[in-house]
Symmetry: C2
Subunit: 488 residues, 2 copies
């Protein structure tokens, strides 16, 4: 079976598009920049959602839902925010269509112009803080720990499925606090939640850091980020958590009476991850045979293939194993389609990233064994039927760990230190990857470096060594190394 | 504690609004007709979603996600559909804002006009069938059984929280089949799923029927509906499932090669329920003390109140019971807030519809008992501590059943037969409720009756008796009784 996937070596960007298409993850739509998330892609997102939702609830958050539309004037209230978000967005100007009097079809009814235009939310700080104004009067109403699962729209010019689309799905947490310290603690807590999710569930190692002023969320005083390295050595920002200070409270006049009955402005955070994580997952683990998924997020964890086709004695064992594995908590797919040959099924299950595949043949049955194949390494072993659940338990842990370790080794092998501009430029241009280098702390230098190399400061890592030095570009004093990389 | 809820008797409509507000279910927003779904309201919807999603997956469906926007021209493709949906909708005409050169704030950038306007989806048949065209080539690609959880927008003039809002949340199933019979079977199967959900989970009895031509979904050949009676005796359409024939396949040119290699048009269904169900739930069970929720959908199922306030010995028992009840699968809230008196907490838990409340007092503890109160009847009993889980198990079943039975009795008590126009008019105008009456089968008569009484035909019940008669309005022959009522 030709899988129609170009190799990463040949064309990484095309490889990604091929995986998305051939593994049935997403499709283009008739609307510019908007994708259709196909069932297999959506099932991965559903698993991500489910786990993140548990983690949000464990940390005391509840879900709510705010309107899709934001009155245009709201966007002007927070000055930096409007610069960051209001520019490329979908603007609703009318609320009615009418039959075209000159012919066929429908036209916009000119009589139905809105008094104030509505913006399809690019992010919901403004509409949410306008609501919080009504919900918060006293310190007793705080903290307010709310999350929203929603779709948002940003009118991107260059789009790629999952990584950058005009419409995408995400969650956005918006919390309100009575003190600065509590808000910072919240932003840091969610930064940690995202880190745990990325590493423990996506098997994707990330670097925790804060953004430079230049790369911060529009309206934030501090943006915490997790940065991952993709297989082409480029960085991908996988989740951000923002300490917003009192900026939105000021813009929407949200105050509370403290315990001493004095009026104070409320402190805010917001934090989000999106369907972009599906893109990150693909790019972190997949290979030239197709998708590779960490067991904890795989929609189907175990497949069973009858060799060469379904038969009574094979069915018996297959159904028994399916049953036992389901009881052990796995999602199982017994592929009984008798129009497809085993080789075709193997290729298809590889393409879809199913972590473990069982093949049941008549000859094996005589020996009371089943062939067990793991997707990540391709390794196959014969395992006694009564040992299958135990073996699958082991493999799932092993695959999850192996994927993480492999990605971590890859990142480490592609992480460099540069101490001169020549070295820096050479690494960024020839080798790629993450470069730890000294930086003088100015936006000017940051932008000059971006201009010359396309590399941006991904983050100021939280665990960076105490080490002063000289800026790799300007030669001015530097308080420590930051991470540069080209990024998605 | 004054709950700020008017009685149903005094003003039913205001009572509903009071419950929505006071129980923390929803709030108005700054955007006309759009509501904010507050955490308690959203948690009910989450529980509905969770259960429906299980039922959809059990019946072989998978989830996917299609774009929020629909190109304007798509809506014109299916003639009836455009009449039904394209008129009152949110129209996106531009994709950029700019700083106002004459002053403050932002204005729509006139340069950023879209070539073709985009409609915010009022329902997704058109964009989905435009996609299915690419997904369906052969009979092997069928059936396609897809569901989407999404937000939709219909520019309603008169809105009420949950019952009718410009933006609402829903699920829409869209399936494609190779034969008419299979599509009808699917539409009927989902009709049955909705019935089971309404009755077994919402404890809301419904009547299964089909809509008259006049009340059908725009573009459907048959609309299956479930109709419930609210406490003001008005009907509420709680879910619909549509057999769409080949209308959308024709409009979007979706054909398949059958087993004989001949090209045929694909058959379609669609089906949906929305956040309107939250409104239906409120109106079916709640009382003048607040929300009443069926245990299977209640976000908090058991609350524990320390009398008069938390203390070491009370905590010990409370945490133990909390733990046992959580292990038994219940969501539990131990209300340790020491700033509120027990009476206040009781009222608050009643308001929120928590089905079972435990009160732990020191005197009771000496006797090793706890006071157990049920929300539906207000009944209280003392139960030995070691019998609590057993008692809660019983009560949950009992409350769930009692709510259903009570609603059914109410519907039966308010269901009438009318055999003359005088009788019909008198019942509709004075008593309300459901009226079984003969109808001549014409839209003309249906509309004339609506015009005079505001009553519409809710459905042609599936289980109606074989009984011919004379139309209550026109006197012409009738093939059987249909159900008339005023409706939400």
């Amino acid at each position: 079976m030709s899988k129609g996937i170009i190799s990463r070596e040949q064309n990484y960007s095309q490889w990604y598009n091929d995986i998305v298409k051939r593994a049935g993850l997403a499709d283009h739509s008739a609307v510019r920049g908007c994708m259709v998330i196909k069932p297999h892609g959506y099932a991965i997102w559903e698993n991500m959602k489910k786990q993140l939702d548990v983690m949000f609830k464990e940390t005391g958050h509840v879900n709510a839902y705010f309107p899709l539309f934001i009155p245009k004037s709201f966007l002007s209230r927070e000055a930096e925010h409007v610069e960051g978000f209001a520019k490329e967005c979908a603007v609703v100007t009318h609320h009615r269509l009418m039959n075209d009097p000159n012919g066929q079809g429908v036209i916009v009814d000119p009589e139905a112009k809105l008094e104030e235009e509505l913006i399809v939310r690019p992010t919901s700080e403004t509409i949410i803080w306008n609501t919080y104004k009504d919900w918060i009067q006293s310190y007793r109403d705080l903290p307010l720990l709310i999350n929203q699962w929603a779709n948002v729209v940003r009118w991107e010019m260059r789009t790629r499925p999952f990584l950058r689309t005009a419409e995408f799905l995400w969650q956005e947490g918006h919390t309100a606090h009575s003190s600065k310290d509590e808000a910072i603690e919240e932003a840091e807590k969610m930064h940690e939640v995202y880190t745990r999710f990325a590493e423990d569930y996506m098997a994707m190692p990330v670097i925790k850091g804060v953004k430079t002023e230049n790369e911060r969320f529009a309206g934030a005083l501090e943006t915490y980020t997790i940065e991952a390295m993709m297989q082409d050595k480029k960085a991908l920002q996988a989740g951000t958590s923002h300490f917003l200070g009192q900026n939105f409270a000021k813009a929407f006049d949200v105050t509370f009476l403290n315990e001493n009955n004095k009026e104070e402005l409320v402190w805010a955070t917001s934090w989000g991850v999106s369907t972009r994580l599906v893109g990150a997952l693909i790019m972190t683990h997949s290979d030239d045979q197709g998708l590779v998924l960490p067991p904890k997020l795989a929609p189907i964890q175990v497949s069973i293939v009858p060799i060469p086709k379904p038969a009574e004695e094979i069915d018996k064992v297959a159904y028994q194993l399916e049953d036992e594995l389901k009881k052990a908590g796995y999602s199982v797919f017994y592929d009984r389609d008798d129009k497809k040959r085993p080789g075709f099924k193997f290729a298809e299950h590889e393409l879809k990233g199913i972590p473990v595949r069982l093949a049941i043949g008549k000859r094996d049955l005589a020996n009371k064994v089943v062939e067990v194949a793991r997707r990540d390494t391709g390794e196959k072993v014969s395992v006694p039927i009564d040992q299958i659940v135990k073996k699958v338990n082991e493999l799932m842990k092993d695959i999850q760990k192996n994927l993480f370790d492999k990605a971590l080794r890859f990142r480490e092998a592609n992480t460099h230190h540069a101490d001169s501009w020549e070295e820096f430029e050479k690494i960024i241009k020839k080798e790629g990857g993450f470069v730890y280098a000294h930086w003088d702390g100015t936006s000017e230098t940051e932008l000059a470096i971006k201009d010359r190399t396309k590399a941006t400061i991904r983050c100021i890592p939280l665990d960076r060594k105490e080490e002063t030095g000289k800026c790799v570009f300007s030669g001015k004093p530097s308080a420590g190394r930051v991470i540069f990389a080209k990024a998605y």
